[in-house]
């Protein structure tokens, strides 16, 4: 079990670095979606089933949709952008960066006494979940709604250049 989590962490790390260093915006967005999906898997493995479900649906799903639509709304010629940021030296450094950072992280993990939390039994029923989220944390739910609305506004305000 632990080995699976460590492999997922490694994949997560790779996806994250790719998302930052890839030239094409679209490919970056997809790498980010991949990272979110792997994170959802890790959350499920660690016992937070509902967190994993939310992560998958919102981050890997909704957010990627928003990203892709934002990219398509912006007018710049994506081929030119790719050429502008083309940097062979940067991309050739990618494996080196991955290896070095990976080694450092593994060393840190080996030295410090990390413990995976005990697996929490997935005993929450659907009712219990609803009660937690609606009665106790309703403020956050409304807050998230407003966040998404703001995000939509952001896209329109920043990228919509056609009238």
């Amino acid at each position: 079990m632990e080995a699976v989590i460590y492999i997922c962490l490694g994949l997560l790390f790779i996806c994250g670095v790719l998302a930052v260093m890839l030239r094409s915006l679209l490919k970056s967005a997809i790498a980010l979606a991949g990272a979110s999906a792997i994170l959802a898997i890790i959350m499920y493995l660690l016992g937070s089933v509902w967190a994993g479900i939310f992560e998958l649906s919102v981050c890997a799903g909704l957010v990627t949709v928003i990203f892709v639509s934002a990219i398509s709304l912006s007018n710049t010629d994506k081929q030119d952008l790719a050429k502008l940021y083309e940097d062979a030296k940067r991309m050739s450094a990618l494996p080196a960066i991955l290896i070095i950072c990976g080694v450092v992280l593994i060393l840190i993990a080996a030295k410090t006494p990390f413990m995976l939390p005990a697996a929490v039994p997935a005993a929450e029923t659907a009712d219990n979940f609803r009660e937690i989220f609606w009665n106790h944390r309703q403020v956050d739910i409304w807050g998230q709604v407003i966040v998404v609305l703001t995000g939509a506004l952001t896209v329109v305000a920043l990228f919509k250049e056609r009238e």
Partner: protein, 485 residues
């Protein structure tokens, strides 16, 4: 109690409703009316907060918990402290000033501006009223997103550099705050204010509190970035320079305080007694005051001078918070209010000067007092208030902070804070000499005073500054009446 409950409903509902209205109507109709409609939100909020102040005086309480239970569909808990009310009032006042300035300086994308402003107001209102640290984080994100977009959306001549710097620093701060929250959650098991207050930390030794200290470092750093305190201040002047002046009014006037200072108020409220917290805030505050003022002395861009002045004034508020006492908190909150008014005034003046002369460079200006009397007088009132010169309001809040510092034993810091006021006076004297108080340059001979909503905003803010200064003793009596002093 009724009054306060309905006020909180209004405070949340109105901006949301306006946003929805803006989105529903056709583009052309929205473009014409969105700005005018936007006025409704801050004005309602000012009236609602004023009513709450009166109600609190009647109830003689200063901490009220509101539970919403609207037809079983919506149920949330909010807390209304006296200082939250002051913040709510400031949010409304600064937003009002910003809309008045934007009326003139934002020719296109008005609907976008108005809608984003509504979201920003919603986010800020949420921050000061929630009862749970995680909810605070959620609304902090709203504020972060909307303020970033407001800065970036006008794509000014200086490019998006300032906006980008702000985005990076803001996201960094959010991550740090979230990690800090996670550490606190691991230690105490709950993030709700009443659970944290019951002090799950009592009786634990420093080694057991490692997680809490790590959380404190992260959260103080995160909120300090949001506040623009030294050494995390580098984004502030650039963001101001990139942003449209209406947005600068918002940014310095209220966002850095609600997003940054309020978070620190909450943190010091729960964890302020831990050794080391006070000293950190003392040092950060003092350095901010001095460095902000010294850098402001060297700038020649009107808005950058005012931005560094913000950094300096945040230092005073941090010093007030660092005493972890009621007097210090009162002084800090009073300074938040005063800073909201005088900083908004200064940015409104910058907008007026830029609109009429076309430049922000103070070396190209001179003697504008002759032609722009209202702008000149309001800048004078703002400058005196910033420097802490009586009878303007800034003096009283600085005095309270100094008294609090002295009473808590930090005498050296108190003295340094007072002496550093002379730097504030120095850079503002320079600004006045170069821009207003002197002989009119020949090329500026045709300038006229700015009119319309910007002039009104300046007059309104100046009246508030002067009234707050003259009537401050009454405010002290009010605080005594509700049991805070």
């Amino acid at each position: 109690m009724q009054v306060i409950e309905s006020s909180t409903v209004l405070i949340f509902a109105v901006p949301l409703v306006i946003f929805l209205i803006n989105s529903l109507f056709s583009k052309r109709l929205a473009e014409k009316f969105s700005m005018g409609l936007a006025y409704v939100a801050p004005i309602t909020q000012i009236v609602a907060t004023a009513a709450c102040f009166v109600q609190i005086a009647h109830l003689k309480q200063h901490d009220i918990i509101i539970s919403w239970d609207l037809a079983g569909a919506v149920s949330m808990r909010f807390a209304v402290h006296t200082y939250s009310l002051v913040f709510l009032f400031c949010i409304a006042l600064v937003s009002l000033a910003s809309i008045m300035v934007a009326n003139r300086t934002v020719p296109q994308k008005r609907t976008g501006f108005a809608s984003l402003l509504m979201m920003l107001i919603l986010g800020m209102n949420g921050i000061v009223m929630v009862t749970d640290l995680f909810s605070l984080y959620v609304f902090l994100e709203i504020v972060g997103i909307s303020s970033f977009v407001l800065i970036a959306m006008f794509k000014s001549e200086t490019g998006l550099e300032g906006a980008f710097k702000y985005l990076v620093m803001s996201v960094l701060a959010s991550i740090m705050i979230l990690t800090g929250l996670a550490f606190i959650f691991m230690q105490t098991g709950s993030l709700q204010y009443d659970h944290l207050e019951a002090s799950a930390l009592a009786g634990q030794s420093p080694t057991q509190l490692v997680l809490i200290y790590a959380a404190m470092i992260l959260m103080i750093a995160g909120f300090a970035i949001k506040t623009g305190a030294v050494p995390f201040h580098s984004w502030l002047p650039d963001a101001h320079q990139s942003a449209n002046t209406a947005v600068s009014v918002l940014l310095s006037g209220i966002v850095i305080k609600v997003a940054g200072i309020y978070g620190l108020i909450v943190i010091t409220g729960f964890f302020g007694k831990l050794p080391g917290i006070k000293l950190t805030l003392f040092i950060m505050g003092t350095i901010s005051i001095i460095i902000g003022a010294l850098f402001a002395l060297r700038q020649s861009h009107f808005k950058r001078i005012v931005a560094y002045s913000s950094v300096s004034q945040m230092g005073y508020i941090l010093l007030g918070l660092s005493t972890v006492s009621m007097l210090g908190l009162l002084g800090a909150v009073a300074h938040v209010f005063n800073h909201a008014t005088f900083k908004s005034t200064l940015f409104t003046n910058a907008a007026a000067v830029h609109e009429q002369t076309g430049t922000y460079d103070i070396n190209e200006l001179g003697g504008l007092e002759k032609k722009m009397g209202v702008t000149s007088f309001s800048s004078l009132a703002a400058f005196m208030s910033t420097a802490g010169i009586p009878p303007f309001a800034g003096f009283w809040s600085k005095l309270l902070i100094i008294m609090a510092l002295w009473s808590s034993g930090a005498r050296v810091f108190a003295a340094i804070a007072l002496f550093a006021s002379i730097f504030t006076a120095a850079y503002f004297l320079r600004l006045q000499r170069k821009v207003f108080f002197g002989k009119l340059r020949d090329q500026l001979a045709g300038i006229t005073e700015i009119g319309g909503s910007v002039k009104l905003a300046q007059i309104m803010l100046t009246v508030v500054t002067i009234a707050a200064g003259l009537l401050f003793p009454f405010a002290l009596l009010y605080f005594r009446g509700i049991g805070l002093l």
